[in-house]
Every structure is written in structure tokens, then in C-alpha cells.
């Protein structure tokens, strides 16, 4: 057993990550013309109920066939200009990245996860020392290892609400009434 190395501490992402992290195609995880395409979207609110306009969300999920290997190509770059080039429209990478808009809204387009009823979300923002992990459940599962541990009110914060056009709504409340369940691992 080796001595574990001490981890490097996290620091806030701050407000000025915009040129570096978001990229064209970041929210578009689903192959372009895939018939099973779903939308997952919502708002991020702070403890005063105000929309958070400078948050960044990252999504990680299994492919519809349940595989969890992912694939490169979530953040493709044009080798000629160095600018974001968008996705190739074919590969399912399992990873997405989206900043909130000025009104606190975000949206991603993806495929339903296989083998697990949820998409995993890491949320970064100015004012957060560490990223916050949560899950958007697109299917309710009475046997889910996490959901079964939560009381009904808290549990409801993890359930995305199915709407028209295969769009699921998932709002995130950072603090206070209706506060989203956030996770740690280990």
C-alpha cells in the first residue's frame, strides 16, 4: 500500500473562463440526425432565487447501449485556425459542456443513457470552491441506489420532468428552499 499523495485543492472557476472552456458543439452530445435525440435543459438559481448567469455545466453519461468508455471529439479544434470546430456529428462521446445564458438557462441535446437512469452533472461557478455534482434522472427507478436513500422532497429535486418534444426540464437550486441534492463520492 503506497502512501496516498495529497490532492491539489480546488479553486473557483471564476467568471472569466469563457474563451477557454465552452466550445461550439459542446452541448450537442447526440449525433445530429439521431431519431432518439432528447433535450435536457433548465435554469440554475442562487440562494436569492436569482438566475446564475456565469455557471458552467458538464455532463457525463453512458451511451444508450450502456457503454461507459466515452470517445474523443467533444471539444474538436480546427487544426487550421485553432478555433472550436464543433463535433463531427457522428460520434457519441458521452460528454457535454454548456455555460448558462444571461438568464441562467442551459440546454444540451443527447441520447438516453443506457444501463443507468441518470445523466451525471458537474456544476462550476464563481462563488463555488468545488464543483457540485448532481444527477438528472430521466427515468424514475424505485430500486435506484441513490434515490432510495432520499426523502420524497429531496428525491424530487433529482427527477427531470418530461415535457413536449422529448425535452426534459431539470432546474438546479444552489441554496435554500428546494435546494438540489448534491453528491460526494467515496
Amino acid at each position: 500500500m503506497t502512501t496516498p499523495h495529497a490532492p491539489t485543492p480546488s479553486q473557483t472557476i471564476g467568471p472569466f473562463y469563457g474563451h477557454a472552456l465552452p466550445a461550439a458543439g459542446g452541448p450537442d452530445i447526440a449525433p445530429l440526425a439521431h431519431p432518439d435525440r432528447i433535450t435536457l435543459h433548465g435554469y440554475v438559481y442562487d440562494g436569492a432565487g436569482d438566475p446564475v448567469h456565469d455557471a458552467l455545466l458538464e455532463i457525463w453519461q453512458p451511451a444508450p447501449d450502456g457503454s461507459r468508455t466515452g470517445a474523443p471529439g467533444s471539444l474538436r479544434r480546427d487544426p487550421v485556425t485553432g478555433r472550436p470546430a464543433g463535433r463531427d456529428g457522428v460520434t457519441f462521446t458521452g460528454f457535454g459542456r454548456v455555460p448558462t445564458d444571461a438568464d441562467g438557462h442551459w440546454a444540451i441535446h443527447t441520447l438516453p443513457p443506457g444501463g443507468a437512469p441518470y445523466l451525471s452533472i458537474a456544476l462550476f461557478a464563481r462563488g463555488l470552491l468545488n464543483q457540485l455534482y448532481t444527477r438528472a434522472y430521466v427515468r424514475d427507478d424505485p430500486d435506484d441506489a441513490l434515490l432510495t436513500t432520499l426523502d420524497p422532497g429531496r428525491r424530487a429535486t433529482l427527477l427531470a420532468q418530461a415535457g413536449p418534444h422529448r425535452a426534459y426540464r431539470f432546474d438546479i437550486r444552489l441554496q435554500g428552499e428546494g435546494e438540489t441534492v448534491f453528491l460526494e463520492f467515496g
Binding site: 477557454a20 474523443p72 441513490l146
Partner: protein, 234 residues
């Protein structure tokens, strides 16, 4: 949080708190997930299509040279067991030499540099090593409290082999007098842990007549070494 009225003379006073925490920090406890099947124990991968070879050199993204002191920053990315994190994405963003971000919402009255955007990325090699060439960023004023200044810093983003190992943090420069006054750095309350965010000047990394070298090694916190051991080796 209330501050004690007494002054501890053996220690310098702590900087004022980081104000943005107030309405954004969750009140509820984090819910611990101990499921070895959790999706978060795997994570995204990146490759040659996500990075171009020039992306690690922030001084060559425009037609001219940026103003400032040219530096190289390199180090190894490892997990808590000391294993290198190979082929993973490292992203960097920063101000220009004058302390200004090329971001429309940055209103700090320092000049923009048309030859510097201040962002780059690279993949770690088989040893877990990343490397960037850039210019030393400047300190900048912000409105956290009266006369608040951030020490010069580089913002970094790292991916591990699990989504739980995701790390976004900031790297600082040794010897900066602003380090003692910065609420963001001091949001890490343990002094020993704080020191891990300060790079070391490494003269062997400096290139004669070209650049000054800094070394900064990074350890990604895993979930839960136990979850991995119970599950499978990664």
C-alpha cells in the same frame, strides 16, 4: 460568520471572506454515494481531434508576440496513488501581462493585448506531464472588498480517469506578496494545502535568452480509493 474581536499577534490576519460564496454555497450536506456502479467512476476521454499541437503555446495564437515575460509551466498530473494520468485534457486560462482578461465582462482598467487571448490546452503524455508556454499574468483589482487585488494566477482545468476526479483550480507564483491577502487562495483554509497551489521556480526549466520555467505538479483527488479497489483497477 462572525470574526473574533481579538487580534492574534503571532499570525497575520486572514483576508476578508470571498463574498460570492454567500448565495451560492449549498446549505444542505452533500449526499454520499457509495455505489461501485456509479457512472461517475468513469469519465470522458479526449484525443488528437480535441487539441491542436499549437494550443499549448499561448504566445503564438496571433500574428504578433504578446507583451510580457515569457514563461513555461510544466508538471505531472497523477492520482492519489501516484499513477500518472495519461492522455488527458488540461486547459489553461489567464489574464494578459497587465492583468486584463480578454473577456467582455472584465472591466478592470488595464489594457487589452491584441496578441494575447490567454487560453490554451494540451494532452498529458505517457508520464502524465503537461506543458505550456505563455506570458506571466498580471495581478488585477476586483470588488470583493475595499482595495481587493488578486495575485497573478493561472486558471487550470484537469480531467482524470473518473468524472469524480475533475479538478478546476488556480496556480500561483512563488514570492508574490498578494498571496497573503487573497480571499480566493485563503478559501483553502489549510496552509499546507494552500502551498500546493504555488508553483516552484525551476531554473533548469528556464531556456537561456528565451523563457523562465515554473514547475507545478498536480494530484487529482479520487473518489474514494476504496471504491476503485472494490471495483476494478483503473
Amino acid at each position: 460568520m462572525t470574526k473574533p474581536l481579538t487580534t492574534n499577534l503571532t499570525k497575520p490576519p486572514s483576508p476578508p471572506p470571498y463574498r460570492s460564496l454567500k448565495l451560492r454555497t449549498p446549505h444542505g450536506p452533500l449526499v454520499r454515494v457509495r455505489d461501485p456502479e456509479a457512472v461517475e467512476l468513469t469519465g470522458p476521454v479526449f484525443g488528437v481531434t480535441d487539441v491542436t499541437p499549437l494550443d499549448g503555446d499561448l504566445t503564438r495564437q496571433h500574428t504578433g508576440d504578446p507583451i510580457g515575460e515569457r514563461i513555461t509551466v510544466t508538471g505531472r498530473v497523477r492520482d492519489r496513488q501516484g499513477r500518472p494520468v495519461r492522455g488527458q485534457l488540461v486547459e489553461l486560462w489567464q489574464t494578459n501581462a497587465a492583468g486584463r482578461y480578454a473577456h467582455r465582462r472584465d472591466q478592470h482598467p488595464a489594457p487589452l493585448d491584441p496578441n494575447f487571448t490567454g487560453c490554451g490546452r494540451c494532452l498529458t503524455d505517457d508520464d502524465g506531464t503537461y506543458a505550456f508556454t505563455t506570458i506571466r499574468p498580471g495581478a488585477y483589482a476586483w470588488r470583493n472588498h475595499d482595495n481587493a487585488w488578486r495575485p497573478a494566477h493561472l486558471h487550470f482545468s484537469f480531467f482524470g480517469t473518473a468524472f469524480t476526479q475533475r479538478l478546476v483550480t488556480q496556480m500561483y507564483f512563488p514570492g508574490d506578496p498578494l498571496l497573503a491577502l487573497d480571499p480566493v487562495l485563503h478559501s483553502v483554509t489549510d496552509e499546507v494545502a494552500r502551498a500546493r497551489l504555488v508553483a516552484a521556480y525551476d531554473h533548469d526549466l528556464s531556456v537561456p535568452e528565451w523563457s523562465l520555467g515554473y514547475r507545478w505538479d498536480v494530484v487529482l483527488d479520487g473518489p474514494s480509493a476504496t471504491l476503485f479497489e472494490d471495483g476494478e483497477a483503473r
